[in-house]
Point group: C2
Chain length 181, copies 2
DNA sequence: GAATACATGTAAAATGTTACATGATTTT
DNA sequence: AAAATCATGTAACATTTTACATGTATTC
């Protein structure tokens, strides 16, 4: 699926592996992320399969850049993937819930410490959605001619915001329940 | 991390790979799941590392079972993992959001179809949390002497319920926003 | 002078998915 | 008669993470 994340970005504009990593980190990283090494190897694979092509861009006093461009075949494949509806819901992995599930044998204070720490982390993440992420989207939306795109980016941001609000509410309820026990 | 899911279950009682797959499917699968093949290979690895031991149980008119038991080393490792607080939040992958992010070029009707389909799926999942999952937990809680455990299982169930409610709300808002455009 | 940003890549290990293989018993 | 359940496992493949490797330029 990283394939389609990369094709999605390249469909906006040509980019190097380095660029793509930066782009993901500031935009999709909350629902789709990848390590630099995986991006480089996937790009190489996509080029072999004909979905992208690359050329070297020489730079003075900086390493050369390998810039990727989406091919027509890549565009067709991307659009096909986007158009085909998902027939299932995503199955998540949530380590905190796994730990909590098996934590009855622990001292409740240990569990509470964990939950309070998570509350702080999720509070920070919520703030980030409400400030940094929101700003980044608005910047992109105004600088380029991308109002249509920005509405959808904003929808994904709101998902993150709702998710964190829900998470914090649940943590508060769970902390209270364990405290009362 | 599957390691700790398996140790967690084996800490309650001995079980075969088959049993563990069934257990996960009815309990943790919404926040931790694994394929049968991965469970079998991980158990084998855990035995080599000394966290579990196994013996064959003969059965008439059914294939033999290889039953695993947690070792003291396994119990210590499990407890250590449970006690050590997570210092980060989980980074999810949510294919629907990735698709939505790049969907500005699509016909809005195609996007709406996708979102409505997801709404149905999440509605079903919500019902499942409210009925099947709730019943399973209550059954376990009453049949065995596991009230303490059941409270935490119930907390993880409530997370799932809250998550699905949030998801549906977000889908409704997003569907409306795209419809208005 | 140290840390960060720029920029690319490889190698190894871990994790996870899909497919194959077998075969009896029980339920529909 | 067909399908599902019980039960175990291997092999191949795909994905992801961690670590290694290099080197310049800019910023603190």
């Amino acid at each position: 699926m990283l394939k389609y994340a990369l094709l999605g970005f390249l469909n906006y504009q040509d980019a190097s592996g380095y660029d793509l990593k930066q782009l993901m980190d500031v935009s999709t990283s909350n629902f789709w992320h990848a390590k630099q090494s995986q991006i480089y190897t996937t790009l190489k694979k996509l080029e072999k399969e004909g979905f992208v092509i690359s050329h070297i861009e020489a730079q003075e006093s900086r390493p050369n850049r390998r810039v990727y461009e989406i091919t027509e075949s890549g565009q067709i494949d991307l659009k096909k993937w986007l158009s085909q509806p998902l027939m299932t819901i995503e199955s998540r992995k949530e380590t905190l819930l796994l730990k909590l599930f098996f934590s009855a044998q622990l001292d409740p204070q240990v569990v509470l410490t964990e939950l309070r720490l998570q509350r702080n982390l999720h509070q920070s993440q919520l703030k980030k959605y409400q400030t940094t992420t929101k700003d980044v989207i608005q910047q992109f939306a105004s600088s380029l001619d991308m109002q249509e795109d920005a509405r959808l980016w904003e929808a994904t941001r709101r998902f993150g915001e709702s998710y964190e609000e829900m998470y914090i509410r649940w943590l508060d309820e769970t902390i209270e329940e364990i405290s009362d026990a």
